[in-house]
């Protein structure tokens, strides 16, 4: 029965990882951009939801859109201040600038929300389902369902719509896209807003499972980077598979070997896999 329980744990962990990485999948995978403040946006997503619940007394499910909207606006501001770097696809400068943004967000959040650990309360987190010796919460079900639905929606939009074709076109050649009448800066703005909004959504769904701290974020960036690279840059399906794979690995390795070495072992696993399949899990 422990195997089934760990499978469920892996599934929930993995869908959480995948959700956190979804925005980056589009940002790096499709638009060839980076945002190393991604982890801090995750932190902010969780804290904005917590803050409005604590201060305004709004219910959990109302705090989700509030947080998504607030972080999306921040994403828009970030992109607007980096338009030139984005248009020139200057990834090195973007990396430094977004890292700087991340540190500013961490500092600002510490001033605004304090340094103490907090809990983002979701009513579904306390609703457990116990059956046949295994258990999971309704929050776990929500995370899994949201991950599957959002990944399917993003895959469809990227591969079956004109907007998706525009994103892929801009990823390939933003200058040429302008000759097709595409407002490239506007599309980039949309991609950044999407990335910020989805990581905030992921935070509001995943964060109720653990205490939240304004210092968190670094682990989420590393995790996201690992998933996007492992999944194969540019592959939405690959990122979902990588998220689940990493979740399973974390659950089983943590249970049967040692939770202390899970991250190091996961990196070892990724290293071996990428040396065998340099383009990750994606079918090319």
């Amino acid at each position: 029965m422990i195997l089934v329980q760990q499978f469920i744990n892996g599934l929930v962990l993995g869908s959480g990882y995948a959700l956190i990485a979804l925005g980056w999948t589009v940002l790096l995978g499709a638009a060839r951009l980076v945002n190393f403040a991604h982890g801090q946006l995750y932190m902010l997503g969780a804290f904005v939801a917590w803050f409005v619940m604590e201060q305004a007394g709004v219910p959990y499910f109302v705090s989700i859109p509030v947080s998504v909207l607030a972080v999306a606006l921040l994403g828009a501001f970030m992109q607007a201040s980096m338009t030139r770097l984005v248009m020139e696809q200057n990834l090195t400068s973007l990396m430094i600038v977004t890292l700087g943004f991340g540190y500013m967000l961490t500092g600002g959040a510490a001033i605004l929300f304090g340094g103490a650990p907090q809990t983002l309360d979701s009513p579904l987190q306390g609703m457990a389902v116990r059956t046949g010796g295994v258990w999971f919460t309704l929050q776990d079900v929500l995370i899994l369902a949201c991950a599957l639905v959002l990944f399917a929606a993003v895959w469809l939009v990227l591969n079956r719509t004109r907007i998706g074709a525009m994103v892929r076109a801009i990823a390939e050649d933003p200058k040429l896209a302008q000759l097709f009448g595409i407002n490239a800066p506007l599309v980039y703005l949309g991609i950044f807003v999407f990335e910020a909004a989805t990581v905030a959504l992921a935070a509001t769904l995943v964060a109720p499972r653990t205490p939240i701290l304004t210092s968190m974020g670094f682990e989420e960036v590393i995790l996201t980077f690992m998933i996007v690279v492992l999944g194969g840059i540019g592959s939405v399906g690959g990122s979902l598979a990588a998220g689940f794979g990493l979740g399973m690995f974390t659950a089983f390795f943590g249970t049967f070997v040692s939770p202390a070495y899970t991250t190091a072992a996961a990196f070892g696993f990724v290293l071996v896999l990428l040396s065998v399949r340099p383009k990750g899990l994606a079918r090319r």
Binding site: R168, A169, D173, G181, I182
Partner: protein, 253 residues
């Protein structure tokens, strides 16, 4: 004859070096105008500046007027919306997208007064090969097919003027003439085209008017039939037999 595209003293500098120097040019409606000149004369820089487009960061001065309205301050995508469609030299399509997706990227403007947006049927009649390659990615296309696709995408956007930059690059001589003849057919149907072409003999066989560019400056301008006799053109571009592309003795009427 009314002008559909004109520029007045257009100057383009890259890092302080002047690539195009006070060029004044006019594309009358329903005509095909050629810009010829040697490699490095500033032809591509000129046509890119007209479209407000560049892969670098040029300083551009001078006025560009499209259909009587100044467009100098507009970015490339806004000029494209207004019907100033550039097909750049070399890579004019997205290799990661299929032919169908490349064509679907272009949105026909809502207001197409005085403009004609080419439908799929018209494009496939012009370039039947594209229909067969509809679901192939751009990377799988030949040089000629890519050029056809790039032109088709521009035609779908209802061009007031089509700016073609070196469409002959990378194409077999037979294909060059075939492509230019098809462009000529579009002009005969009312489209206005500005053609930048290094293959002078081929260009002279289809255009109505010619501008000769040397070191960024217009050194001669006139109807194609006169320019064919121009000493500078004959000596520099028509004297060599290895650029025999056009059918001899078949200048455009």
């Amino acid at each position: 004859m009314s002008s559909v595209l004109a520029c007045d003293r257009l100057t383009v500098r890259y890092g302080g070096k002047t690539a195009v120097d006070r060029v004044t040019l006019d594309v009358p409606a329903g005509r095909m105008v050629g810009v010829i000149g040697a490699n490095g004369a500033g032809k591509s820089t000129l046509i890119n500046a007209l479209a407000g487009w560049s892969r670098g960061r040029p300083e551009v001065e001078g006025e560009v007027v499209l259909g009587g309205e100044p467009v100098s301050g507009l970015s490339a995508y806004r000029r494209a919306h207004r019907g100033l469609l550039l097909v750049p030299e070399g890579k004019g399509i997205f290799g990661g997208l299929t032919v169908e997706e490349n064509m679907a990227l272009v949105r026909t403007p809502a207001d197409t007064r005085d403009r004609h947006a080419f439908g799929e049927d018209e494009i496939f009649a012009l370039f039947p090969r594209l229909r067969e390659r509809l679901h192939h990615k751009g990377t799988a296309l030949s040089g000629g097919e890519r050029q056809m696709l790039a032109i088709s995408c521009a035609l779908r956007a209802a061009p007031r003027v089509l700016l073609l930059d070196e469409p002959s690059v990378g194409l077999a001589p037979r294909l060059v003439l075939e492509l230019l003849k098809r462009m000529r057919q579009l002009v005969d149907l009312g489209l206005s085209i500005l053609l930048v072409e290094q293959n002078v003999r081929a260009a002279l066989s289809v255009v109505d008017d010619v501008y000769l560019l040397e070191r960024g400056t217009v050194v001669a301008h006139g109807p194609a039939e006169e320019m064919r006799e121009d000493k500078r053109v004959v000596e520099a571009y028509l004297g060599r037999s290895d650029i025999e592309i056009a059918e001899p003795g078949s200048p455009h009427p």
